[in-house]
Symmetry: C2
């Protein structure tokens, strides 16, 4: 396992993010950026809690173009927000359905003199507040224009700092250890559910903060790659897939591994070679300046040559960081230019026989001279358990 | 622990939900209900995966007023949705930022002849799709009116079926066992982080599917009740609070417990008595027909008498079920009439000394003759560890 990096970030990390956002806002003629989702609020403030699982209360942060961020949040969050670098914290006693932060937010916007506010409205974003409250806000500040600012957060969050990279590297290393040790945990006769629990506990024991994303499947044939466990008993000759987004200090891994119990059938063995080779093709051409579409094509070509019957996943990998999946997507049309500091998953997948899906995934960071592995590179052969 | 209920739901559970929604839609003059968030999609279809953690793809379900639900979803979800009772499944290859399901959704709406569609837009709801796509949908079906349908999902999800209740009862029983055994897991000298991991692993070993929500704090004084662990070492005389939303088969617990290491100081001991007594006051008056505001007042009065210095949480409990928190809220203005089959948390909390917060929480279901405990009632005295 990699050395454990420090927890959290120094204030300068947030100040740098804020300054970068401000330069982008200025270039777009925006007076402020408005964010209301967990990763964006955390990105700019450091506010970090699983309490976002409660849908009850909205949380707002404004990043003005020329001053420090303003948090407009429910009172229950005030103690935690006060521990961050944010000093301008406005609170109200939430929940208050008749006016859940809308008028206080309108007051802040009005008194700050913002006339053009950027809001992430594009792909992979959403507005985490009631639609009726969003409309009420618009009515409360009728002269304010809300413009799409997806490009601001997208371009910033795609390129990671060294401090962010250290966290992702750490959790990927920890999960690599977990996958490599899985043969000691699992055996024929266990149920899928028992296997899931064993792996989850193992990852926690290895130092993960949490394992919020764990999906998998077992059997000779499966196509569902986002599945929860069943009481199915693992049998000799089964394939098992585990795919996990494990978290450490707010940063996620996202890669999968296949195993076979006792022996692997020829079709599955060959399919694993194909997706492994497709990953290798991606790794071999990855460097700053190529696009996600170039990357997609390099991997897709190997799978077409390898007899792919198709892929329902819709892409061959994506960005990774604070969330399980982030911008960009490796697709035939995405065309995002890959930059130094981006973290990507390479995730070639294909139906290799009717009803049988093979998905392979690695996590990498783009360096000046090419990719650096974050997950520990899988073996070309499916590992055999038992 | 309670007997383990069956996993999942029989098809009639979903048909009943669908029929109930349809009656409510008809009463409101709506042609269909549109939902796009994890709990609502799961509620009507049974589609259950942690893949919603990926923000990339939107998921849509339409519940027409007089026919079965229609799922409009990314292809990656097709295998799982096909396993549910839903037969009308339209898919597209997502992500496709230029048209991520919008035109297929518009086609379904147009060909179905819907002219008035209900969408949850009110308190505790949000639209899990890009705002730009929502606006594009509106432009694609310009003659369709989208009306607020929060009341449809709110009124349905607040009242639980016996099958739902069995799942909540099971997970609450399991967490009660965990809390009662915590004295064997924790000791002075551990860090908060070690304590969190030990408890999380223990809950998994007891049969929890996952522990997505675990917050807590330790020390003589703390006010942050939604906190993640630090490397602080637990000392003699410390208080420790754990609050967890642990999941079993898609249903959540939500209650906390306080502990003291070695001994408990008089102020904390008294404060625990006050919040425990406030809970008791709530339990004693709870029955169908009283309101959440009556309940709030019964608990608030005890805390005012007990010397409360205030409460930043904003409410004294809430609904519980598929999510950590659900409608309604126990506040001074909520006024929701409590019905048989509702699951509530009673959560009186108060600042009992400057910088010191005490929060107590129990989970109950409302029966015809009053409350039935789901969490196992805490002792009035804070348990001492070590």
């Amino acid at each position: 396992m990699s050395d454990m990096p420090p927890r959290g970030f120094p204030v300068e990390e947030y100040k740098t993010r804020c300054a970068t956002a401000q330069a982008k806002l200025a270039a777009l003629g925006l007076d402020a950026l408005f964010v209301c989702t967990e990763p964006e609020v955390r990105y700019f403030t450091g506010f970090h809690t699983p309490f976002w699982q409660s849908p009850t209360r909205p949380w707002f942060v404004l990043v003005p173009v020329s001053s420090d961020p303003i948090a407009v949040i429910p009172g229950i969050g005030a103690p935690m927000m006060s521990e961050t670098w944010i000093s301008d914290i406005r609170t109200w006693s939430a929940p208050q359905p008749e006016d859940d932060g809308v008028s206080i937010l309108a007051d802040v916007i009005g008194s700050s003199g913002f006339s053009r506010i950027g809001v992430p409205m594009g792909h992979e974003t959403h507005l985490r507040m009631p639609l009726a409250d969003w409309n009420a806000l618009g009515s409360a500040v009728p002269d304010v224009e809300f413009a799409d600012a997806t490009s601001v957060v997208r371009s910033m969050r795609m390129v990671k700092s060294e401090r962010e990279l250290a966290k992702t590297a750490h959790v990927c290393s920890l999960v690599s250890d977990g996958f490599e040790g899985l043969g000691d945990l699992l055996s024929v006769g266990m149920t899928e559910r028992e296997a899931f629990t064993a792996f989850r506990i193992d990852l926690l024991q290895r130092g993960a903060d949490d394992v919020p994303y764990l999906v998998g499947a077992s059997g000779h044939s499966f196509t569902d790659v986002i599945k929860q466990p069943s009481d199915r008993i693992i049998e000799p000759g089964d394939l098992l897939m585990f795919d996990t987004g494990t978290m450490w200090d707010g940063y996620s891994s996202d890669f999968d591994r296949y195993y076979a119990f006792g022996h692997v059938d020829d079709d599955a063995a060959r399919a694993h070679h194909v997706v492994w080779d497709a990953t290798e093709a991606g790794l071999n051409m990855l460097r700053p300046g190529v696009t996600t579409t170039d990357l997609w094509k390099a991997m897709a070509d190997v799978m077409i040559d390898g007899g792919s019957l198709g892929n329902d996943v819709g892409r061959l990998g994506h960005g990774l960081g604070m969330q399980l999946t982030e911008w960009p997507s490796n697709t035939s049309t995405d065309e995002t230019v890959i930059e130094e500091g981006m973290v990507l998953t390479l995730e070639p997948g294909m139906t290799f026989a009717p009803g049988r899906m093979m998905l392979h995934e690695e996590n990498i960071v783009i360096r000046a001279d090419g990719p650096e592995m974050l997950s520990r590179r899988a073996e070309r052969d499916i590992p055999i358990i038992g």
